[in-house]
C-alpha cells in the first residue's frame, strides 16, 4: 500500500529589495527571528529605481509565481528619487501584466524601511498567501 502524497503548490516568490532600506529591513527580520515563508528569494539591488520593468516581466515569465519590489519610503531614498522612479515603473508594470496573461496580484510594490523587520516578514507572509491562492504562474507548463 503506497501513500500518495499530494504536493501542495509552493509559489516561487522573488523579492527585489533595495540595499539601503528594504534589504536591511529583511536582514533585521532574520536577526529578530521573525518567521516568514521560505518561498521568498531575496535579491539585493542598490535601489528599487534600478529595477527595469523587463526584470519583473522576465521573472514572472521564467519561473517566478510572484514578484515584490521593495524600496525605501518616499523621501528616504538613498539616491533621492530612485524610489519615486520605481513607483512610476510599478504603475507601468501593473498595466502591462494582463497583456502577458498575468494576474495583477502577482506583482506588488512595497516600502520597507531598515527598521521594519516585522513588517517585512508580515508583507512576505501575506504576499505568499495571496500568490498561493492564485496558483502557479500561467507560464509554468
Amino acid at each position: 500500500m503506497g501513500l500518495a502524497v499530494e504536493q501542495e503548490f509552493e509559489p516561487v516568490i522573488v523579492a527585489l529589495a533595495c540595499n539601503w532600506c528594504s534589504y536591511a529591513g529583511a536582514d533585521l527580520a532574520g536577526i529578530s527571528r521573525c518567521q516568514y515563508p521560505a518561498n521568498v528569494r531575496i535579491i539585493r539591488v542598490m535601489c528599487s529605481g534600478m529595477v527595469h520593468p523587463n526584470l519583473v516581466i522576465e521573472a514572472l515569465t521564467k519561473g517566478a509565481d510572484g514578484v515584490v519590489m521593495c524600496g525605501c519610503h518616499p523621501g528616504d531614498c538613498h539616491y533621492q528619487e530612485g524610489n519615486l522612479k520605481a513607483e512610476k515603473r510599478a504603475e507601468a508594470i501593473t498595466l502591462m501584466l494582463p497583456d502577458f496573461g498575468l494576474e495583477e496580484e502577482r506583482f506588488k510594490l512595497a516600502w520597507v524601511s531598515a527598521s521594519e523587520g516585522p513588517q517585512f516578514a508580515k508583507l512576505m507572509t501575506e504576499f505568499t498567501a495571496q500568490v498561493k491562492r492564485l496558483g502557479p504562474s500561467p507560464y509554468k507548463s
Binding site: H52, P53, N54, I57, K85, K88, R89, E91, A92, I93, L95, M96, P98, D99, G101
Partner: protein
C-alpha cells in the same frame, strides 16, 4: 564567376525592392558580381516551370537568397522552405521578413475575425463567402521568416536602407562577416536629453519644438517633449554612416521600424519603462501593444483575451 542570387517576396509592399534600386551607382558594380536567377518583381522566371509543367514550386539553386515580407499564407511558408533549401546564404530583407512588419499587426486578431471583417462585414464588399478556390490558405498568424526557417543575415528597416543592403551583399560576396548594431536609436540620436519630460504625452498632430534648419543637437529629446518616440526600444542603424536616425533627421519621433534592439527584447516593456521613468503617464496610451510593437508583431502580438 558571378554569384547566383534568388529573391522572393511574401507579405510585402515592395519598398525593400525599391531600396535595392536606391543603392544607386554602386548597384552597377554589384550587378556585375551577381547573376539573378529568380526574382518575381524583376524577371519572368516562373515557379511551376516556364510552361507550368511542374507540380511543385521550384526555385533554382543560388549562393545568395533574399526574402522580403513576412509569412501570411501556406504558399509563403512553402516558398520560404524552398528558398532555404536552394540558397546557401539566406537574407531576411526588411522588417517584415525579420520581425513580421506592418502586416504582423494582424496578429492582434484571429484569422476568423480578419476574414469576417473583410469578406462579411465590410459594407463595400459583396458577401460571397471567404475565397477558397485556387487561393493559398492563411497561416494561423503572421510569422517572420526566421520563425519558419534559419536566416543567416537579417536586414531590418521599413524599408531597410540602401547602405545596409549594398553593404550586406558586398560583404557576403567578398567573404566578410556582416553584423547589425547592438545599440538603440538613442545612442545615435544627437538631441538634448535631461531625463525628465517637459510635457504630458502629446500626439504628433502638434509639431515638436525645434528651430527649422538648426543642428539637431540643439533640439530637446522628442520623448521628453511628450511625443512617443520609439528610440529607446529600437535598434540603431537607419542613419547609416551619417549616424543620425532617419526620422529624427526630419524632426519626427522614431517610428521603431528597425525593430527590437535584440532578438529577445520586448519593445513594449522597454518603452513602458522608458516613458514612466521620465515622468510620462503610460495609462494614456490607448493601444500600447500595437504602438510599441508596430514592426515586430510576429511572436510578440497576439489576440487580446476576450473579457
Amino acid at each position: 564567376m558571378a554569384a547566383r542570387l534568388a529573391e522572393e517576396w511574401f507579405a510585402i509592399c515592395g519598398g525593400c525592392e525599391v531600396t535595392i534600386l536606391d543603392i544607386g551607382e554602386p548597384l552597377l558594380d554589384l550587378l556585375e558580381k551577381v547573376q539573378i536567377v529568380h526574382m518575381p518583381v524583376l524577371m519572368d522566371h516562373k515557379l511551376f516551370g516556364q510552361t507550368g509543367e511542374k507540380t511543385e514550386m521550384e526555385i533554382p539553386e543560388a549562393e545568395v537568397g533574399l526574402i522580403s515580407g513576412g509569412i501570411r499564407s501556406d504558399e509563403h511558408k512553402k516558398l520560404a522552405q524552398e528558398m532555404r533549401r536552394k540558397c546557401k546564404t539566406l537574407i531576411a530583407l526588411g522588417s517584415c521578413a525579420c520581425y513580421g512588419g506592418i502586416p504582423a499587426l494582424a496578429n492582434l486578431y484571429s484569422t476568423e475575425e480578419l476574414l469576417t471583417k473583410v469578406y462579411r462585414e465590410s459594407i463595400t464588399t459583396d458577401k460571397n463567402g471567404f475565397p477558397h478556390e485556387e487561393v493559398p490558405a492563411l497561416t494561423d498568424r503572421v510569422y517572420s521568416v526566421s520563425e519558419v526557417v534559419k536566416v543567416d543575415v537579417s536586414l531590418p528597416g521599413c524599408p531597410t536602407t540602401p547602405e545596409m543592403v549594398g553593404g550586406a551583399l558586398t560583404a557576403l560576396l567578398e567573404g566578410r562577416p556582416f553584423t547589425l548594431s547592438t545599440k538603440s536609436v538613442c545612442d545615435e540620436c544627437p538631441t538634448i536629453r535631461e531625463k525628465k519630460a517637459t510635457s504630458t504625452l502629446r500626439r504628433r498632430l502638434e509639431p515638436a519644438e525645434f528651430v527649422p534648419g538648426a543642428p539637431l543637437n540643439q533640439m530637446r529629446c522628442l520623448m521628453e517633449q511628450g511625443f512617443l518616440c520609439n528610440g529607446p526600444a529600437t535598434r540603431s542603424g537607419c542613419g547609416g554612416s551619417e549616424g543620425t536616425p532617419r526620422c529624427i533627421r526630419a524632426y519626427m519621433p522614431c517610428e521603431g521600424c528597425f525593430g527590437p534592439v535584440s532578438e529577445k527584447a520586448n519593445p513594449m516593456v522597454d518603452m513602458m519603462g522608458a516613458l514612466s521613468t521620465i515622468g510620462l503617464d503610460p495609462k494614456q496610451i490607448p493601444d500600447r501593444a500595437a504602438t510599441f510593437n508596430r514592426f515586430s508583431g510576429a511572436g510578440r502580438l497576439r489576440p487580446a483575451p476576450k473579457r
